[in-house]
């Protein structure tokens, strides 16, 4: 294929992965920003979303659109409930200590992953896309559903932005993010805000999982990559900066796609990884985070 | 001024974004004196001593210490030249014992070259630790975790850590804040004792303490030095009155 179309294709692919990544990472960023903890189990929430999408699809049978709709309701609810339970039973009891939270969420990751293995099995299971059409460009064809993924992700991102900036809940969250003690003093129910942030973060991951599963299949180990990438995105974007997170998702998603045009696949991955790491080395606070003192 | 100049700053400036925290400060300290810097909140006192100790990089200007330009030195290098800073908010290592806290300071002077790294005897450290803790009257609390000490003692521990570094210039930021009446008296006695060995630079709000201790007072307001002189001169200075009373 010629260079131009090839690059166009890479950009298209980069855009899709950037949008899904943005939704996933936004969830992590929310948790990070508001609670100042690292949630290692974020990837399994993503995976749970995908698995629940399969489950929804298999319940409704041959109607992909219905299954997708059901998944978009069920997955966030179930995963949100799991997250609230985790917050209540574990995180709250370790006082959101950053290190303890990392260990606890690693434990949670193992537990959820193994439960899924027992209940759902080791197979990668496909889920039909709710809408299927192929977009024909002169040089190659492209999945129409992927364009739907872009649109749906954009809606989720806008929704989150609206929620954070225009609602009382968003105000509470931002207040907690700035200074949780001060927020508490002003009557913000910080504990409940923590639980809500944790649940919302998990729900975003779950919805990203639902969105991606018609492209990628549900598998019990699928959470690792989105977890690592989300981590990277959140840090590059700057801790707790939602705008930064979204921009970083594009940098990471795009660089992966575009570098792959010029180098052999694995070398491209190596270079993309190092490039992103160097961003952090040069700007340790992330691109949009506060300068470190 | 007959005395030898220990430290001198020239045209020191620091901007934080749009805020000019320190502007064009020319400041000098004579060896052996006790100097107090006073001024209203936000006058730039902490920023100034921050720049002198190396915690904050100046935007422009130079600092000379014992004739050497130290503007570009890192804070840890300045410590080794004898500029020691004790914190405004006590920041002793709460989980470590008093001994450990002071030992960290005491061993610093001994750790020079590979030899100091590898073969440092604990006895030499212990001796210094004991004398520093003795000097502030904390010898009895040696094995207690610093975090368990009452606040006043933590401040004293902070000073002991400063002493163990064998300072030539000891900078103390608000040392009497939060101390009880009798503790303040002890502190004043201690400071006089220290002044025999080192130059002392104080940032202090407590005027009786300043007037009692300082040989000379520097008054800052809005990032500049507005007056300097003996306690008596400063008390009489009209401009200082204005700055403090806000008239």
């Amino acid at each position: 294929m010629n260079f131009g179309p090839h690059l166009f294709l890479a950009v298209l692919e980069g855009t899709v992965s950037a949008f899904v990544l943005a939704v996933t990472a936004l969830g992590l960023s929310l948790v990070f920003g508001v609670m100042r903890v690292v949630n290692v189990a974020h990837g399994v929430f993503f995976m749970l979303g995908a698995v629940l999408a399969w489950w929804s699809a298999s319940i409704v049978g041959g109607q992909p659109l219905l299954g997708f709709g059901l998944a978009m309701i069920v997955a966030p609810l179930v995963v949100g409930a799991v997250a609230v339970a985790a917050d209540w039973l574990i995180l709250r009891r370790v006082n959101y200590n950053p290190e303890s939270t990392i260990v606890a969420t690693i434990g949670l990751l193992y537990i959820i992953e193994q439960m899924v293995l027992i209940l759902y099995g080791p197979d990668a299971r496909p889920v039909p896309a709710p809408v299927y059409f192929r977009v024909s460009f002169p040089w190659f064809g492209y999945s129409g559903y992927k364009l739907v993924v872009i649109a749906a992700s954009a809606v989720l991102l806008l929704g989150t932005w609206y929620g954070m900036s225009k609602t009382k809940l968003g105000l509470y969250m931002r207040a907690t993010q700035q200074d949780s003690q001060m927020a508490q003093a002003f009557g913000v129910p910080v504990r409940r805000i923590y639980a809500t942030a944790f649940a919302l973060g998990a729900m975003l991951a779950a919805m990203a999982g639902v969105l991606i599963v018609p492209v990628q299949q549900a598998h019990y180990l699928m959470g690792m990559d989105p977890l690592l990438l989300s981590f990277i995105v959140v840090i590059i974007g700057g801790l707790g900066s939602l705008r930064g997170t979204i921009i970083a998702a594009f940098i990471v998603g795009m660089s992966d796609g575009i570098i792959s045009v010029f180098f052999s696949p694995t070398l491209a991955k190596i270079l993309a990884t190092l490039l992103v790491a160097m961003v952090l080395v040069i700007r340790p606070g992330g691109l949009f985070g506060e300068e470190e003192p | 001024m007959a005395a030898v100049t220990l430290l001198e700053t020239s045209a020191l400036c620091k901007r934080f974004g749009g805020l000019q925290a320190v502007r064009e400060v020319n400041f000098s300290l004579a060896q052996g004196e006790i100097r107090a810097i006073i001024g209203p909140n936000g006058a730039g006192k902490t920023t100034l001593v921050g720049i002198i100790s190396g915690r904050i990089k100046p935007s422009s200007g130079t600092i000379t210490f014992k004739g050497e330009d130290i503007t570009r030195l890192k804070s840890c290098q300045r410590v080794m030249r004898g500029i020691v800073y004790t914190f405004q908010v006590t920041s002793v290592y709460a989980t470590l014992t008093c001994y450990e806290n002071v030992a960290l300071a005491a061993q610093r002077r001994l750790m020079t070259g590979a030899k100091g790294f590898l073969t440092l005897g604990e006895a030499a450290i212990a001796e210094r630790v004991e004398s520093a803790l003795d000097a502030v009257g904390l010898a009895a609390s040696m094995e207690r975790p610093a975090g368990e000490l009452p606040y006043g003692y933590q401040r004293l521990l902070e000073i002991a850590m400063g002493l163990a570094l064998e300072p030539e210039l000891l900078i103390m930021d608000e040392p009497t804040q939060g101390l009880a009446e009798e503790e303040i008296a002890e502190f004043c006695a201690l400071t006089r004792k220290i002044a025999g060995r080192a130059t002392v630079l104080l940032i202090e709000h407590n005027m009786p303490v300043v007037l009692q201790l300082a040989h000379k007072i520097t008054v800052m307001d809005r990032g500049t030095v507005i007056a300097e002189g003996t306690p008596a001169e400063i008390e009489a200075d009209a401009e200082v009155q204005r700055a403090y009373l806000g008239t």
Binding site: F231 | F117, L165
Partner: protein
């Protein structure tokens, strides 16, 4: 505290090493081979603990140092006809060099950003082992034959496939690294590292160039991890990119947390416990990771300082 209990501490550590030595004479074969593995992997945890436990820097990329030791030893023995000990030496040097260069770059980042940078460099190294698959044979890896693992030392033929040699080599490696960290922990340098962990800014104002100390700590930590990787290559004869995956960066973190962060013997305790936890629970369920997960939760909720950390806090305050 620092000045007391020196005798007790020395007795404890030499006692542990002595017990490990004696164990080879009465342990059944199975537990003996487990002990070899545990000692080698505990060395890895010991290295990790220097950085995490004593300096307070959390890394999720230590697999790169383990892998540097593993590949440094494995490749030179396999391709360049290095003797086993030369290979191990080269492996250790590789890890040392890597940790130094990596430290110069990565220590600019702090806190969570440092964690991510470690993770990403490790990921890049993992992909590199795949990219140069003509040499490394990628994920499939390669094997050091018995012949390559044999050498003569002072006229005696030493086979590193022989269980007795294996056991004692593992013991030597572990003991050396354990004693090194003990000396480090009780030295003035160790004191500074702990101070950095507790409050870096304050430590700088005590005249310490904390950047250099962190670099030193990272290099020691990375090198010990490399020692473990090199020993692993030699004793278990398999070199593959699995060992460079993130999984192998998480392992030492878990072992150290379980045993007790910032305790000299915690890594050994944690590694051994986790090993047997997996081994025994896998007899009852194929979801042994479920058990591991549950143990982690119990740990965090009730023993946040790990086993030795909890012991130290409650009863044995002299534990180093």
């Amino acid at each position: 505290m620092r000045r007391h209990g020196a005798a007790k501490i020395i007795v404890l550590h030499l006692g542990v090493i002595g017990l490990l030595f004696l164990a080879q004479f009465f342990l059944p074969a199975y537990h003996q081979s487990n002990a070899i593995r545990i000692m080698v992997l505990a060395t890895y945890a010991v290295g990790y603990n220097v950085l995490m436990g004593y300096t307070g820097l959390l890394s999720l990329g230590h697999a790169m140092f383990f892998a540097a030791g593993l590949y440094g030893a494995g490749l030179t023995i396999y391709y360049l006809d290095f003797t086993p000990l030369q290979g191990v030496g080269f492996g250790i040097l590789s890890a040392c060099a890597l940790s130094f260069v990596f430290g110069l770059l990565a220590l600019r980042a702090r806190g969570i950003a440092f964690l991510i940078v470690t993770m990403m460099f490790a990921q890049a190294l993992f992909l590199t082992t795949l990219y140069f698959n003509e040499i490394t044979l990628g994920d499939q890896g390669f094997v050091l034959s018995e012949k390559l693992r044999t050498m003569t030392i002072g006229g005696a033929v030493v086979k590193f496939s022989d269980p007795v040699v294996k056991y004692n080599f593992a013991l030597m490696v572990f003991s050396a690294c354990l004693l090194l960290t003990l000396v480090l922990a009780r030295s003035p340098v160790g004191r500074v590292l702990v101070a950095i962990r507790e409050n870096e800014a304050r430590t700088r104002m005590l005249g310490y160039d904390t950047e250099r100390y962190k670099l030193l700590s990272l290099v020691i930590s990375g090198t010990i991890s490399g020692v473990s990787g090199a020993a692993y290559a030699l004793l278990f004869a398999y070199i593959g990119s699995t060992f460079a995956t993130i999984q192998y960066s998480i392992f030492p973190l878990l072992w150290v947390l379980l045993g007790g962060v910032g305790t000299t013997l915690g890594p050994l305790v944690g590694t051994a416990l986790m090993f047997y936890l997996i081994d025994i629970s896998s007899d009852y369920t194929s979801s042994y990771l479920l058990v591991v997960g549950a143990v982690l939760l119990v740990l965090v909720l009730w023993f946040p300082k790990g086993i030795l950390g909890t012991l130290r806090e409650r009863w044995l305050s002299w534990l180093p």
